[in-house]
């Protein structure tokens, strides 16, 4: 049975799309502006710019001083943030209903009139902040580079998903103020933006406020790039060994999957659930409970829009177990999933888990706004949030089996092996560690 979250959509004369989901259970409104620009829109040599904007958009605009966007809203009980991914950049606020108009005025000013305030000084400062963000999130934590490696291995060099959103620090430091201004003009505008409001607001009020504060935005954006040709599974297996100081040896088995809108995507996601996401999943039962060769196993899917997605199986190898034993066992189970399909329990658990977690996400205004924006832009229909669970229930075991047989074959896997220094070659490793710490051997 479809869910019945209310959804009202319209388009302003300047092309900005508006989606409203009215809910008066608490006196607050969540605002999402989904801009159709992510790392996949970046040009070679200019990576990291989409994410840099997530920072620059808080540095002031024509009528708003540096930092004021956040501080004005905070003083009214508003929370604001932004995130960047492969396909999009989102700007979000959660505000008491009485501050909604202020939030939209602030968004109108920065989405329409950012450039007068985008100076060399705040470009330089936010570049420094991004360098520290990269160090904190990716460079100083174990396995922090996993996603970057996965994208490089799984997607061809000229593919939009070959690089991750944080981008190259060399590209970022090479970017001039003019490059950055040009990026804004090319990608930010009403025709690339979808505004979603969820909460204590009527569709009529929403429309009036959106017209008032975002209706005047002019479009300078370039047409969105033509979709990339769909990719099939990796034509042959690839592997990368990374030796370093990690707390346990870890395997990432990475798969190309179809685009998130492809009918095969959901069966692939459910196959990965059946393999590893749940306690009833076969890899969890076999490797973690019975053979005890791993101390952790999980699966995740990154559903992407442009012709391909990414699927990951992650396994923490138990101490003194040879990772190749684990890898061989995973390959066996991949093959078996492609031949036998999921068990009834795996399938039922995957459906039940998806139902609960989807409803949990929709329970919050913030997440509901994000999912509505994603449904509107990626799936072309905000009602997708109401029908998604029906799509999940409709997936059969046979569809899951076929998806696994096509997309999750050992012959199509990119494997990243994080190896411990001691697991490889004691002498070489000891020399590397001493060299790295600057102590003469």
């Amino acid at each position: 049975m479809p869910l019945d979250f209310p959804v009202v959509t319209s388009t302003l004369p300047n092309g900005l799309r508006l989606v409203v989901s009215e809910d008066h259970s608490v006196p607050s409104v969540s605002v999402t502006l989904w801009v159709d620009v992510g790392s996949r829109h970046e040009q070679p040599g200019r990576t990291g710019l989409a994410h840099l904007f997530e920072h620059l958009m808080f540095q002031g605009s024509e009528l708003v001083a540096e930092g004021e966007h956040m501080s004005l809203l905070m003083a009214q009980g508003g929370r604001s943030n932004a995130t960047t991914s492969f396909d999009r950049t989102t700007y979000v606020e959660s505000v008491p209903s009485g501050a909604l108009e202020l939030a939209l005025w602030l968004e109108g000013d920065r989405h329409g009139h950012l450039l007068p305030a985008l100076t060399q000084d705040n470009l330089d400062n936010q570049r420094d902040v991004v360098v520290e963000e990269k160090r904190q999130r990716y460079d100083t934590v174990p396995y922090g580079a996993a996603l970057e490696h996965a994208c490089r291995l799984v997607f061809p060099e000229d593919h939009p998903y070959h690089h991750t959103t944080i981008g190259s620090m060399a590209d970022l430091s090479a970017a001039t103020l003019e490059d950055v201004h040009a990026f804004f003009r090319a990608h930010y505008g009403p025709s690339t933006t979808t505004l979603v409001l969820v909460g204590d607001v009527t569709p009529e009020q929403a429309r009036v406020l959106a017209e008032r504060h975002l209706g005047h935005l002019e479009d300078t954006s370039e047409p969105r790039p033509a979709p990339s040709a769909p990719l099939g599974p990796l034509p042959q297996p690839v592997a990368l060994d990374i030796v370093g100081d990690v707390p346990s040896e870890r395997l990432y088995l990475c798969f190309r999957l179809p685009a998130v809108t492809d009918p095969d995507f959901l069966p692939c996601a459910m196959a990965l659930d059946a393999l590893a996401s749940l306690s009833v999943s076969r890899l969890y039962r076999r490797l973690l409970r019975h053979e005890e060769t791993v101390s952790g196993v999980s699966a995740s899917v990154l559903g992407l829009a442009d012709g391909a997605s990414l699927g990951l199986l992650v396994l923490d190898v138990s101490e003194s177990v040879d990772p190749s034993v684990v890898e061989a066992a995973v390959h066996e189970e991949l093959v078996r999933m492609g031949v036998e399909g999921p068990s009834e329990v795996e399938l039922e658990a995957s459906r039940a888990d998806t139902e609960r977690s989807w409803l949990e996400a929709l329970a919050s205004f913030d997440d509901r706004a994000d999912l509505l924006a994603r449904a509107s832009v990626i799936f072309g229909d905000p009602q997708h949030v109401n029908t998604y669970l029906d799509d999940v229930v409709a997936v059969t075991g046979e569809q899951v089996r076929r998806a696994a047989a096509e997309w999750l074959r050992p012959a199509s896997v990119a494997t990243i092996r994080f190896r411990q220094v001691r697991g490889v070659d004691e002498d070489v490793a000891a020399a590397e560690v001493l060299a790295a710490s600057g102590v003469a051997p």
Partner: protein
């Protein structure tokens, strides 16, 4: 165009739970939240970790996590299957005062969830093989924590700050040595100390389709007798005599240095009012434009973010600040951070205090918009011996809060013992730390 005026916030109060006594003496706290289709069920039980037998630290947490690893009626795998086929997600945790179990479940599977949680509480058997597996996984988690600069800093902090005679000196989940020593008998002993006395069941979400929930809970969790004696209060958490010092955990070549600063702070019963400290946390380190990041992030570009706040305990608590900074700026960043934190209360301004207090009070409706957020707040309060109406009372206090009141509370923190400073980073920073004049500096190995 002019900036739009902001309309006054609509009236809102934290939902007042309906309270029902259960047959075993536990309180049942119900909050009906129409439209919240996933229910949050929590069981909160008093069981202080300070009662753990020395050498078995971590037993409370592991016992709680092992409750669904086998009962007199079902094996671990059967429980997993029963849960997941009904979309029931489990959570379990331990804190200073006690343990909590939680499940998230859709309304139509609430009955199954209540039966399962009751069965696990009543009949958990702690099978040898499952406990051994959980011990191994917990040891792997500890290794991962040791490798993560942020987690490593907080481990070193408690070891430096808390008196070695007291339980908080050791990690809540235990050390490698204490966890390795855990076996089914230790967990069974911990389980035998569980009692419904002083405990609570919290259930939030859209209850309209659940029938008579009071009867359903009374017949399940309300029938659990437990075997422990009356619940005790947690033991002391004294500051070590030599806590006023600097410890650098060596991590050669680390691109950033993790900073973790702490000194005494209040508990939630503070006469200044808890909202005063929530406001202080925002003013000092609650956003990119708070006092700390305005300088360290926005002016200097040293960091992605350094935060400050307060961690309440049963008695007293901690004032903490921390984050990671560019390695080559370690000493200047720490110096500036200490300067910023030394601001006398009288210098906190009325506008910054008002903005911070308004942020804390006016974000409440949005923060408590979901069943799990409401349940978690109630759990956090009742397990700390406070009533849910404290949320609304705190919000009222915030509306009238002045800079003078906030300044006085901060001055009290500054008048107490000074900072314990932990860094995780390259050992070359040690020399510069000596010059800061904040106590003796020691360097410890990273593992």
């Amino acid at each position: 165009m002019h900036r739009p005026a902001v309309l006054p916030p609509r009236a809102w109060a934290f939902p007042e739970p309906a309270e029902h006594p259960l047959p075993n003496g536990m309180r049942l706290l119900l909050v009906d939240l129409p439209g919240q289709h996933v229910l949050s069920l929590r069981v909160v039980l008093a069981l202080p970790v300070s009662q753990e037998v020395p050498g078995t630290e971590g037993a409370t947490l592991l016992m709680t996590r092992a409750l669904d690893e086998g009962t007199a009626r079902h094996t671990s795998e059967e429980i997993a299957e029963l849960s997941e086929r009904h979309g029931i997600a489990w959570g379990a945790g331990a804190g200073e005062r006690g343990v909590h179990l939680g499940v998230e479940v859709t309304a139509r599977h609430l009955g199954t969830a209540l039966d399962l949680v009751t069965e696990c509480l009543t009949e958990a058997t702690f099978p040898e093989a499952e406990v051994a597996r959980l011990v191994r996984h917990r040891l792997a988690d500890i290794a991962h924590d040791q490798a993560d600069p942020g987690a490593r800093a907080s481990l070193e902090f408690i070891r430096t700050y808390f008196d070695p005679r007291d339980r908080p000196h050791q990690p809540l989940g235990g050390t490698r040595a204490s966890v390795a020593a855990l076996d089914p008998d230790v967990l069974r002993d911990r389980h035998a100390s569980l009692t419904p006395a002083g405990g609570a069941v919290v259930l939030t979400g859209d209850l309209s389709a659940c029938g008579d929930v009071v009867a359903a809970v009374a017949a399940t969790l309300g029938s659990w007798a437990g075997s422990g004696g009356p619940a005790e209060a947690p033991a002391a958490a004294r500051r070590a005599d030599d806590a006023g010092r600097v410890v650098l955990v060596e991590r050669p070549g680390l691109a950033q240095t993790e900073l973790y600063l702490g000194r005494p702070g209040p508990d939630r019963r503070t006469p200044h009012g808890w909202g005063t400290y929530q406001t202080l946390g925002m003013v000092l380190g609650g956003s990119p434009h708070a006092r700390i990041d305005q300088v360290l992030r926005e002016e200097r570009g040293y960091t992605y973010g350094v935060r400050a706040g307060f961690r309440p305990r049963a008695t007293g608590g901690l004032t903490v600040a921390g984050g990671s900074v560019r390695a080559d700026a370690t000493v200047p960043a720490l110096r500036e951070l200490l300067d910023i934190l030394a601001v006398p209360g009288a210098e906190l301004t009325e506008p910054e205090v008002r903005a911070a207090a308004d942020f804390v009070s006016m974000t409440a409706p949005g923060r408590y918009g979901t069943a799990d957020a409401v349940a978690d707040e109630i759990v956090s309060l009742v397990s700390d011996g406070l009533e849910p109406r404290v949320v609304t009372a705190t919000l009222e206090q915030l509306r009238g809060l002045t800079a003078a009141q906030v300044g006085a509370a901060w001055d009290e923190v500054l008048a107490g013992p000074g900072w314990t400073v932990v860094l995780v980073g390259d050992p070359q920073h040690a020399a510069g730390l000596q010059d800061l004049g904040i106590g003796p500096v020691s360097v410890v190995t990273g593992s």
